[in-house]
Amino acid sequence: MANILNVKIFLWLSFSVIFLANGLNGDRITEKIYQRIDEGFSCFRRLNGTHQIGCSSSQSGNVGVVHYLEKKADFDWLLETGPDAPYVVLLPPDLFRREHLMTLKNSGKIAGVVVLNQTDTITLRNPAPKPPYSNDLTCPNKITGLYKEDAFSSYCESNPWNPAGDGLLFEDFKFPIYFINETKLNQSCYHKFNRPIEGTPPSYPLCAIELKAFMWAAVDTPTCLRRGRLNMMFNPQPSEYCDPLGNVNIFVPVLAANKSDGPVANRSIIFVSARMDSASIFDGLSVGADSAITGMATLVAITDMIYQFKSNIRDGDIQNVFLVFFNGEAFDYIGSGRMAYDMKNPSQSPLIGLEHVKYWIELGSLAPQAGTKVYLHTDPKSRNETEVDTKVKDLINILLKNRGNLTTESVDASIPLPPASLQSILKKDLSIPGVFISNHKSAFTNQFYNNEWDTFQTISSYKLSKHLAEVARTVSASIYELATGKQMPSNFQVNETLVESTLECYLVNANCSLFNWLLNGRSNLAAEGVLPTYVGVSHGDGAYKALSLRTRHLLAMISGETLDINKTGCINSDHNEIYHYYWLGESESNNASGTCYRSTVKTSHAVSPAFEIENYDWASGEYSSWTESRWETFSVRIFLKASSLQAVSIFVFGVVVLLLSFAVTYWVETNSVLLFPASPEAVAC
């Protein structure tokens, strides 16, 4: 007995030593099989009044064998020979073009597409695809524009504003599309396992990828809104299927409205506007350097200049100047459409209405890409009226007169407006004289309109901020002359460093010193890089979203007067209709070091009126009807896949073993008397 015990103890000890010496690794088996890729941006589904666009995967993700297409010839191999369908195709950005995607989509062999943005190992930069390249339509925002069934609606067909636009942004794909920024996929996955050698298909095991981007909404906006409502009744976990796109517009009335001034006179306010949003297929990847930020930065500089001469604004018959930053313009003019609707039907507070607008100046793309000439566009429909035409001519003359060092040209009066927020305003009131200032005469000079490649890298030049400063000076001088009737004195200067810091913060690095100062050192942004300018969805208070918050504070700093009160006094001040109080510039080390700014910066809800009008006709195209589908988390992971034959044979083997074990157990059961002789203890029992 003692012998057996000793043996047992010895065996137990030796096995423990062996196990501990090997070092037990407590990894989950999932981690040994799958490798996650987190640096991806996914295409997602959006819906409008009549269609769905974008991409979606199946609920458990789309699985496909990885294949890298480097040149056009590779497409033929994949479509004709490739035997391991379904594939997930890796494309370099240059091949992400409409004709290739349509070929892949129609082949039926594709379970997903990944746009692989590889850093060039020599220059250490990510090369942009060959310009021009745009995924928007050739006539952007055509449905909600000003020219629908009239003489000018065919202008864009023959002279498209965005000739490079292939409309991929508005195409519906049944598979997911990802944009991934790294090379692991190509090297360790494709090159190691999946490369066909001299045209012969590779053998199993193959590297496969699972792309998960499951969208909840389908068909179109009224359907997904209706489903969300019906869902509320019976479902234990009710939720909406989609959310309307929307954010906030930010506007700055230069002079604070004082009740004692009396009612606002008709035709007494000058509006200057710019757009601050952009779009792209991929979520989180839209910067809009020339599509939006150049105009916005110029308007910031104009704000600064106007505040230098704000005491002179009331010299003539102009009562105020409003500076507006529109959001959501990339998607059928969400911000400007909403503001025009609010101004036409002032149901809420007695705000300014369209009848108070005397002039409207809008800033579009202004990067000096094809030369520094700046063009002034006007709307021929409104100029049919002689009264409006005279005012437009006055406005243009004053702009041309004050141009300074800028080369300007006034575009022919018969040419309609390019896509601009001004179109939404004129839709509601054709008697407003308006001018749209941009860097192109016919087609866009922006090489990457509403695209993920419209970044600082593609517009930067040594003359960018100087040029924007010049435009700002021209517009401010014109406003001075419109308001006072006199030339602007030369001691009013543009703040060029302000333009540079704005461009840096919005286009290069969102962790810049300006933003940090504006948020009292608490600008805690997780990622490096730039804040996306996509309009997003409107739940929560849009004024506190990352980009809107910083823009509001920037404008508050420029336009506010500093008050001599401490932090608690500032924060607890009563935000009323006229003034808001901002505490800025506090440094982390010293709590009492900030300044209190009192400014008139305000936000207005920028959600399309289509979602608030009873029984709105969704097919009418009067207002933007865009919504964004809801989704669960995105995930991308790669793993090695065995051939289906191997998987099936293992399964069949398992079933056979199961059946065999039934048979063996039954046989042993029936013959147990023969197999197991009775032991002495049992006999005694």
Binding site: Q59, F214, M215, A217, A218, R226, R227, N235
Partner: protein
């Protein structure tokens, strides 16, 4: 419940209750009735109540079959046409599927 030990007249009473109960839009009662009492109705040697039990069993069987046909055709029609019915399809659905029309 084991009806083997019941007396014949209790069996008849039970069969009758299930038969009448099925008229309250409860086809499952008819299905159970038909299966439960089928042995008594057709395969047992003759006893007094057998004729009536046989009647009830046959009628329950027919009723259950008719309901089955109705259910299957409605399910097929609904599954095929729900997407094209738009709003009506969504209002008839208890759980509206995600991601598909």
């Amino acid at each position: 419940m084991d009806i083997e030990r019941l007396k014949n007249d209790s069996k008849l009473v039970l069969c009758r209750k299930y038969y009448y109960g099925g008229f309250a839009f409860l086809p499952f009662l008819w299905t159970i009735n038909a299966f439960w009492f089928s042995r008594d109705a057709f395969y047992k040697p003759h006893f007094e109540e057998q004729h009536q039990i046989r009647q009830y069993v046959i009628r329950s069987g027919i009723g259950a079959f008719v309901w089955l046909v109705i259910f299957i055709s409605w399910t097929c029609v609904f599954q095929i046409n729900r997407a094209s019915w738009g709003e009506l399809g969504d209002q008839l659905s208890f759980v509206i599927p995600r991601g598909i029309p």
